[in-house]
Subunit: 204 residues, 2 copies
């Protein structure tokens, strides 16, 4: 299902270079807006050379999305039923915000895909992602039943974490425009704000 793993050093290096260039271009222009020529230029390779390593534009995009989903869901996977509820949720928020700061291109690639109705990720969203959320929502519900965090709709709680953290990557341009001179402090201030918000929301 995933792309065949590289076999030689050169293949490993070039596939890596191509995927990175493709991430750059796809995340900034969307699938349709990106062209192989742009990707090739960013990668410093010729267009036919791209197609020597990947069978099609589509295949490059799919490879990116497939690799992405796992890393994207990891922060949620780490949320541990055995830990302290508030700490666990806040730690999840922190990890997710960190990802928006460190991997904004990945966030935008994902956002682009979902915005268009996830034409190339439907199965993964309805399967893997939905099941993981189901699983974690169950944990949240238990914590709520135990009175260790406030009772709110668990899935909407998770949506709120996604929305609030990814916003800083996906709508970066708007955030910068609004913050103006504070634009560089966006993430520290966002971190404090979200910490406050979720502490208050979850306080039993």
């Amino acid at each position: 299902m995933t792309t065949a793993r590289p076999r030689t050093r050169i293949q490993a290096r070039n596939q890596e270079t191509i995927l990175d260039a493709a991430l750059e271009v796809f995340s900034a222009q969307g699938f349709r807006g990106a062209t192989l020529d742009q990707i090739a230029e960013v990668a410093g390779l010729s267009k036919p050379n791209l197609l020597y390593y990947f069978p099609s534009k589509e295949a490059i995009h799919t490879a990116l999305l497939t690799n992405l989903l796992d890393t994207w869901l990891d922060p949620l996977r780490e949320m541990d039923a055995a830990g302290d509820p508030v700490d666990e949720v806040l730690a999840y928020v922190r990890r997710k915000l960190q990802m928006s700061r460190d991997f904004p291109r990945e966030s935008r690639l994902f956002a682009n895909e979902i915005l268009q109705g996830a034409p190339r990720m439907r199965a993964a969203i309805e399967g893997e992602l939905a099941e993981l959320v189901e699983d974690k929502a169950r944990i949240l519900r238990i914590w709520m039943d135990q009175g260790r965090i406030a009772r709110v709709h668990p899935k909407h709680l998770i949506f709120s974490i996604w929305a609030l953290t990814q916003h800083y990557a996906d709508f970066d341009m708007q955030v910068r425009a609004v913050l103006r001179d504070e634009a560089d402090d966006a993430f520290p201030a966002a971190g404090e704000f979200l910490e406050t918000l979720f502490r208050k929301l979850l306080a039993p």
Copy 2:
């Protein structure tokens, strides 16, 4: 700056039809992903006929975005310094969520544009939008100084309202996939969740 206003009945009707079809297609496929043929088909007109009413694909897109910004900012404009702080903010949240429900295509069009770095809206974002936020942030700060709502970063508060409400339109596909059988109840439940969240956050 805006498109010349229609002069005859037929022009008014057809421009309306075209803009509606264009909204449908642009919001679902992005600017680059949309084609004039698709828009023409949705509008029930021929492609040359579109270009009789609008000089180019670009012009249709620009007309949509220009019309959009005003309606998009209206809910925030209504936030009144003279009203009760908590009520005002909550009413804004409610209006914004309502817009996500009633105008998801507009929300996605906007999201697409910002995601790509707002190539065709930069000026409006950095100008009109940023200034409006500056203005309302000042009001929020006064309310905080008066101890009528909790002290949080006012601009991040506004970001949080945008992020949380628009999420339900922009990431609709994901929301539906996660909620599964509750998918149709999304907005009522979201409304309750957001009400709780902002009440707790703002409580002084």
